[in-house]
């Protein structure tokens, strides 16, 4: 069926740019700035579904940096070793190394722009130990305006910004990325952007599992991050990796933020079971740590909580001032509403919904140390690119790497006119819900899809359940055609449900493919409960084959650049 934007009175907007950054969050704003710094004559455009002033994972700032490698405190080599062990050896060390090598320069540049990091009375960075060995956590008690500061720098550097336009597909011609298509989520206009290089920075797939509260948007990740980049890269033919290594976080029960030991443990707080006893000796978020939390929650010693009530009043007040002002500023009113006080009771914790996010685990679009995906001209950075445990500093570093390399890559390239059939097919796909305004609302279609994700994919993973889930996710392609929308806003949510479905299918297939258990709870398979290095010391990658089928295959782990003895150095955080 032919469906055109103009059928609904919408216009077709055409744009051209040298570098197109999709997503103006942590990685995207930095990618735009760095591309412009690398070549001030190039046209750089950041496309953002929301408004870059308050978008992405750090919309309300950040209370600390988790991966700060600062000379005199730690080295890139130590950092690579730590992440290699935490991620059970399945890492491209060269890519992880860049986060360690360039992170300090990023911190210094952010400081020059007015971002404040905590320092001791002598003016040294006040690093805290949360990881198993090294000190990489740097508090940012005044980190709430991070996004405003980045927005100011984007403007100062002359980077163009288009807000409230959502990308839905990458255009690929002659084997390279040549732009994106999408639509304006307010006006409904169809938007076609030709670019010489495309950098995807669209964040995590945070709307994969359904939070236990049942509220669709009560997710850990900013719910605008619906796996857009995972799905767009997949349809562009790029490889994705480690998708079975889910993101699962220890959060405040019913709330979408952490309790948060990263902030509170340096003050003496710790994660405890219902009897007040420690059961983990390290609060760094890893699959192994999440498995211990899962076990404790399902033992007679659950629930678990963050214990602060043994601390003095001034210390607790200081923790509150950090936790209630940055990143998740509604945390204070959540506690107040329930009459909870850190001075008298622990903060009850639970396991989050599942998601895909390299920033916290390892699943993402495959990138090398140059932020290149496997499609020429297509780059990825931030939570959707595959550098494990990369967090905010890693997103900044890879935004920079992508921006600089993209400018270098595109120099001799020209724009290509998009294929008319491709544009027509994409209009038919995205505008379809408007042809049936009384079709099933996106809220119901999304709720059911994500409930199926919980039912069939939530670890521990059972092969038979995952097979049923996979069958349902594949069949859901037809269900998506039943969605109805009444305005461009609803159309945006419908398009996001398509992305979520793609991610659910990838998550099921990758989880079925890796026949072992690895990364603690993230990939805990009941039928293969042991790690099997002989067969599975490799990445599981997937891509869209020429036939249109999802193809899965093993990709060898790149040779290590830093020796790690994984037999000796096992990541074990259980207190026994």
């Amino acid at each position: 069926m032919q469906i055109l934007a103009t059928d609904f009175g919408f216009k077709i907007q055409r744009m051209q740019t040298d570098v197109l950054v999709v997503g103006g969050g942590t990685a995207g704003t930095m990618a735009g700035i760095k591309a412009k710094q690398a070549n001030p004559d190039s046209d750089v455009l950041i496309l953002e579904k929301a408004n870059i002033r308050r978008s992405g994972a750090i919309a309300m700032g950040m209370d600390g940096v988790n991966t700060a490698v600062i000379p005199g405190n730690s080295t890139p080599e130590q950092y690579v070793r730590e992440i290699t062990i935490a991620n059970d050896g399945i890492v491209n060390q060269k890519a992880v190394y860049e986060t360690g090598r360039l992170g300090f320069e990023v911190i210094q540049e952010l400081e020059s722009w007015g971002v404040k990091f905590q320092k001791d009375p002598d003016g040294n960075y006040d690093l805290k130990q949360v990881h198993r060995v090294g000190k990489y956590v740097l508090p940012m008690p005044e980190g709430k305006d991070l996004k405003k500061i980045l927005t100011r720098q984007v403007k100062r550097h002359g980077v163009n910004v288009t807000n409230r336009v959502m990308a839905t597909r990458v255009i690929v011609q002659n084997g390279r990325a040549t732009g994106v298509v999408g639509f304006d989520v307010r006006s409904g206009d169809f938007v076609v952007i030709q670019a010489k290089a495309v950098i995807l920075c669209t964040g995590a797939c945070g709307r994969l599992g359904l939070p236990a509260s049942g509220y669709l948007y009560g997710t850990y990740e900013n719910p605008t991050n619906a796996g857009d980049g995972y799905a767009m890269a997949y349809h562009a033919g790029a490889e994705l990796t480690n998708i079975e290594c889910f993101q699962i976080n220890p959060l405040i029960k019913d709330y979408n933020g952490p309790a948060c030991a990263y902030v509170a443990s340096p003050f003496g707080a710790y994660t405890a079971n219902a009897e007040g006893h420690r059961f983990i000796n390290c609060d760094y978020w890893s699959g192994q740590m999440m498995l211990e939390i899962y076990k404790e929650l399902n033992s007679g010693n659950g629930p678990v909580h963050l214990k602060m009530y043994h601390l003095d009043d001034d210390t607790i007040a200081e923790i509150e001032s950090i936790l209630w002002a940055n990143e998740r500023p509604s945390r204070g009113r959540f506690h107040e509403g329930r009459g909870e006080n850190y001075r008298t009771h622990g903060v009850e914790m639970n396991i989050s919904e599942i998601g895909l996010c390299s920033g916290h685990s390892a699943s993402g679009v495959w990138v090398n140390e140059r932020a290149e995906t496997t499609v020429p001209g297509l780059y990825a950075a931030g939570d959707m690119a595959s550098v494990p445990h990369n967090y905010m500093i890693g997103a900044f570093v890879y935004g920079r790497v992508a921006g600089e390399n993209a400018v270098d890559y595109l120099q001799s390239l020209d724009h290509l006119e998009p294929d008319a059939d491709f544009l027509a097919a994409e209009q038919a796909r995205i505008y379809h819900p408007l042809t049936q305004p009384n079709g099933i609302p996106h809220t119901q279609v999304e709720y059911k899809l994500r409930r199926l994700v919980n039912d069939y994919l939530q670890p521990p993973k059972s092969p038979h359940k995952m097979e049923i889930g996979l069958e349902k996710f594949v069949a859901y392609t037809d269900t998506l055609t039943e969605m109805g929308a009444r305005d461009p806003h609803e159309l945006m949510r419908c398009a996001e449900v398509h992305f979520i479905r793609d991610c659910a299918e990838m998550a099921a297939r990758a989880s079925l493919y890796r026949k072992e258990t690895r990364w603690g709870l993230y990939h805990y398979r009941l039928d293969y409960p042991e790690k099997n290095d002989a067969e599975w010391f490799c990445h599981v990658n997937l891509k869209k084959a020429e036939t249109g089928e999802m193809e899965l295959f093993k990709r060898p782990v790149e040779p290590y650049i830093i020796d790690v003895d994984l037999k000796e150095e096992v990541y074990d955080v259980a207190v026994r």
Partner: protein, 75 residues
């Protein structure tokens, strides 16, 4: 398809006596784009129940007209 309307307790509460008709601050910063102006009154309201309770709308409102509650299902 038969339609029904369902009443929902929405997280974003706007004090209309303080909301400025010419101001779009909250609408511009909402990541989920759930706020719009009532065309008849010029006051902002939450049109779509898709709130992340992240607070930019409340923080950036110049007159303090907005209060964000934790969504009922999480309270």
């Amino acid at each position: 398809m038969a339609q029904t309307s369902q009443r929902v307790d929405v997280p974003v509460i706007v004090d209309e006596s303080k909301c400025l008709e010419k101001c779009n601050a909250c609408i511009e910063v909402c990541p989920l784009d759930v706020l719009v102006k009532n065309p008849e009154t010029g006051k902002a309201y939450m049109k779509y129940d898709e709130c992340w309770f992240c607070l930019p709308c409340e923080k950036e409102c110049p007159t303090g007209a907005i209060t964000v509650q934790i969504p009922f299902l999480l309270r």
